[in-house]
Amino acid sequence: MNTEILGVVLQWVALLLLCYPLGRYIAKVYKGERTWLDFMAPVERGIYKLCRINPDAEMDWKQFLKALLMVNLFWFFWGMILLVLQGWLPLNPDGNAGQTPDQAFNTCISFMVNCNLQHYSGETGLTYFTQLYVIMLFQFVTAACGMAAMAGIMKALGNKTTKTIGNFWVFLTRSVTRILMPLSLLVGILLVINGTPMSFDGKQTINTLEGNEQVISQGPTAAIVPIKQLGTNGGGYFGVNSAHPLENPNAFTNMLECWSILILPMAMVFAFGFYTRRRKLAAWIFCVMLFAYTCGIVISVSQEMGGSPQIEEMGIAQDLGSMEGKEIRIGSAASAMWGMTTTVTSNGSVDSMHDSQTPISGMLQMLNMQINCWFGGVGVGWMNYFAFLIIAVFISGLMVGRTPEFLGKKVEAREMKIATIVVLLHPFLILVGTGIAAGLAAARPELASAWLNNPSFHGLSEMLYEYTSSAANNGSGFEGLSDNTPFWNISTGIALIFGRYLPIVGQVAIAGLLAQKKYIPEGAGTLRTDTATFSLMTFAVIIIVAALSFFPAQALGPIADYLSF
């Protein structure tokens, strides 16, 4: 069998094998049970003591959200100040300048919402100081923030009737000390051994074999790569992310990095099952997500390995598949696999240029982000699925004439309203944003030529992808788009903020509201949610609500692109 396909299969199997035990471990961490990482407990106690946090104090859902939003607000100022001032700060051997305010706004928001819409290139746009104290720090803490929100929801849904949903600060701390940091160290050590740089020296200049000068960027790369993958942030150290041969030196590191993208989002589904003791429901949710993800892989891998029909027409040998924007050591199959993995989660790292992939792969990447809950970002992805679950419960309840209930709690008008707003916000942000940009580009052709790298349908795809990626907090891009302008920096920055905080607030609120309600034991009249029928129902709701609202836009972008040649 083809070794490229075997590589893809191996990654898929490695994910499935490890996500279940990891999910059980995560549930234990949030429940505060004993685990083999208990030696981190003194570190945690130190943090609680320093911050005067009482780890036993419980919060209701409003206090929980207030803490979450306050720390995010503080991170915003922290990031803005450091990015603008980085030129004067230490650890800047290459003498890179500070970012302009609109660029710093975009960078800061982007990483604060655990996204990586990088409108700069890491080699020149940041210093080693900001790479570590803004980018890497945010990659840890904002991922932990999403996980903490999910832990709160699990606690709310796991208890029969409760006012409190746990302590935000404790969840945040434990996510870092017990989950993100140990895993990152493991991955980081493997990367270092394989040749990913980890030093603080500046750029090297060398004389090449033909006698030219070549500059080589390096730095503390191996510290950032593991957490950008595991925390589903995706912000690469170098401009081209994991396509860069230093960031991703060989086929093994490529598999390791791609595995790291999805392992935590997958494990989170099982963590929910263990935490709430509803393993069957979790298994069904997992099946739906895995089905959608795997379909995407099969289609995209076959498209990329099949190559571009336009290049085929030119009569050259295309046995490696479509190679524009791809790397030899990674190959077309693994690049397609990564493209799907990075978009089903809100990761957004890339190991090939998505702009240059075939139109159908581009369409699937966008579709994954538009649906945004086939696994999704750590914590937040499962929460998006949760919003669809609520809607599916409500609709199917009405269809069979039963009171809609979820996990023994009545779903009423208030929860439905919040879920609907959360679900509709996503297409609203993406389609309105793309509409405005496309309108501007159509009215003023000079803008279109300044922004777009490719003409016609593919140009529209570039803009659609950018807003999709922003609203989904993904961060990958059709990078041909010249997006470091005030218009793009600010408009996508706004999409990022709404795309992150409204869903989190809404989902935690729903869980908080449900938690306070009286528990109704399941009986013969209950609509069971842990069945194949209900899973199919949820899948249908997602396809109808999320996927179809984007169909017209997709038809004008990638589908037209595919059909026009």
């Binding site: 570590l132 945040l172 030899i328």
Partner: protein, 187 residues
Amino acid sequence: MKNLWISIKITLAMCVLLTVGYVLILRFTAWVASPNDGEAELVELNGEVVGAANVGQAFTEDRYFWGRPSAVDYNGGGSGGSNKATTNPEYLAEVEERIEAFLEAHPYLTREEVPSEMVTASGSGLDPDISPRGAEVQIRRVAEARGVSEEAVRRVVDSVTEGPWLGLFGTPKVNVLKLNVALDSNF
């Protein structure tokens, strides 16, 4: 207000734990276990550094094997792909030019034998590798330029070619810089 104080302190605490603790552990690992003390792995010829193993460089002379086209001219201070859509007519014209130039440099090849990787730009613009097929088609040109037999050059190519990971997963590849260094030290 209490939340603000906690926010400030917990951020600082995380800085100590992560940007100091975590980073130092990895830095230490790099000293012990990385190929070049945590810096990019270098390649030497006759005691002089001629490049980084993982960063591709431009080759244009006939006596060397060539790497893939680069959208950033192999500038290792930056990186980047072309980001061209494969349906873009301007881009297709560019590929056509590259095919013709490649055929001119290798007149013994037919059009069907030109590997697409040699006329399409890599994702990073720094791709250090070509496929075994990409090396195979260049052997005759290099052998003629160096005045040695094709067999001798092919032996060097074979010695540098790396198979898939564990022989099973991923793609086989040839590191262009290592190949050219091996040629220079052999002939």
